[in-house]
Symmetry: C2
Subunit: 216 residues, 2 copies
């Protein structure tokens, strides 16, 4: 299949998981096609934006007919990974790491945490579900052997940059960073950060400005 | 203190945690003031956007002098909450809930999870750090008595809407939803969602489009 190599703009990519989820819901309801108006109403995004976004996805629809749902789902899946199963590693098996290993990421896709790493002797060798914690010193070798695509960092903040450097060296192209540390990486590596303290602050800022009734 | 009741625009609010964190870093380094150029370089946001954003924050700087760091921090803190300590509840004490209770949210602010709720008899009564898990049936009373500002939902997806409805009834104005369920609330309530599956998908979409070297 000749796939065009045009990059999808970042703003469009940010909406892709929403589209993916919405179209999946329609599929589960037995629908075969969807038009931009229905997506617009379902997601509260204006339909001009949706038509522009979907124009980057290739020939997935016909004018007046809408988009074919199976084609859309195939496209979204192809944009996640070329692999059948998406294999994820995690570094740092504290409380949060433990919770992430047992978390069901794979609601719609075959995304599984298959490897876990830590430096603490009391944690190494422990089994959590199907995952056995291995020493960090073996990480680079295992990343390559097991073809991990993404690694999650759930270490203490102070270890985040050193772990990141090791991941970059091992050839990892995607990092999900759960520490508050803003790690530095080369341009070829994507880092998404989930900073729980910042998320809470952000919610409080919105509450203060948009939830309260106006006071005199 | 007469504070203007003009709402801060949503786009500006989204950047507030970044500004807050950056200014805190400068404070820790012993700085007294900062100008928009330094913030622009530190955060990679253009300085016109920064000047416009900061114009909503009131009279915090002088032309040619920059912004006073203590004033900025006081302002950011006042936008988080009127309370000295921000008290947070959590519903659902599975692996993720347990990890969140032990997570250190309070790097810069007094944000603490002080109450936890569950419906499972085997979990109710358990102590995690300083928090004892209480039955969900007592939640509304405790929310009001303990003046909780925010409640985190870490239940199974299937329980999320019912818990949300109960929180709205109890008068909660801010919900941090860790389930994949898009919960419905009245306009006066703010919900921020952290959907870990969507975050992983989003990272994979970015990797596919921005990490790989171009193939012919």
């Amino acid at each position: 299949m000749a796939k065009e190599m045009t990059k999808i703009p970042r703003a469009t990519l940010k909406r892709l998981p929403l589209y993916y989820r919405f179209v999946n819901t329609l599929k589960a309801k037995g629908e075969n096609r969807v038009n931009s108006k229905a997506i617009s109403e379902g997601l509260n995004i204006d339909s001009a934006t949706i038509r522009r976004d979907f124009s980057y996805f290739g020939e997935l629809g016909k004018k007046g007919y809408g988009y074919n749902i199976d084609n859309l789902l195939d496209f979204f899946k192809s944009e996640l990974s070329d692999a059948e199963e998406i294999r994820i590693g995690i570094v740092g098996v504290g409380n949060l790491g433990h919770a992430l290993i047992t978390y069901n990421f794979s609601i719609h896709d075959d995304m599984t945490i298959t490897e876990a790493f830590d430096i603490r002797p009391e944690v190494i060798g422990k089994s959590i579900g199907n995952v056995t914690v291995k020493p960090l010193s073996e990480m680079n070798e295992i990343i390559n052997k097991q073809k991990l695509e993404v690694v999650i960092i759930a270490t203490p903040e102070s270890a985040a940059q050193a772990v990141t450097d090791q991941l970059v060296e091992a050839g990892i192209k995607g990092i999900l960073n759960f520490t508050p540390k803003r790690v530095q990486v080369p341009q070829s590596v994507q880092v998404h950060q989930i900073d729980l303290g910042v998320e809470l602050q952000s919610l409080l800022f919105f509450m203060k400005n948009y939830s309260s009734t106006l006071k005199a």
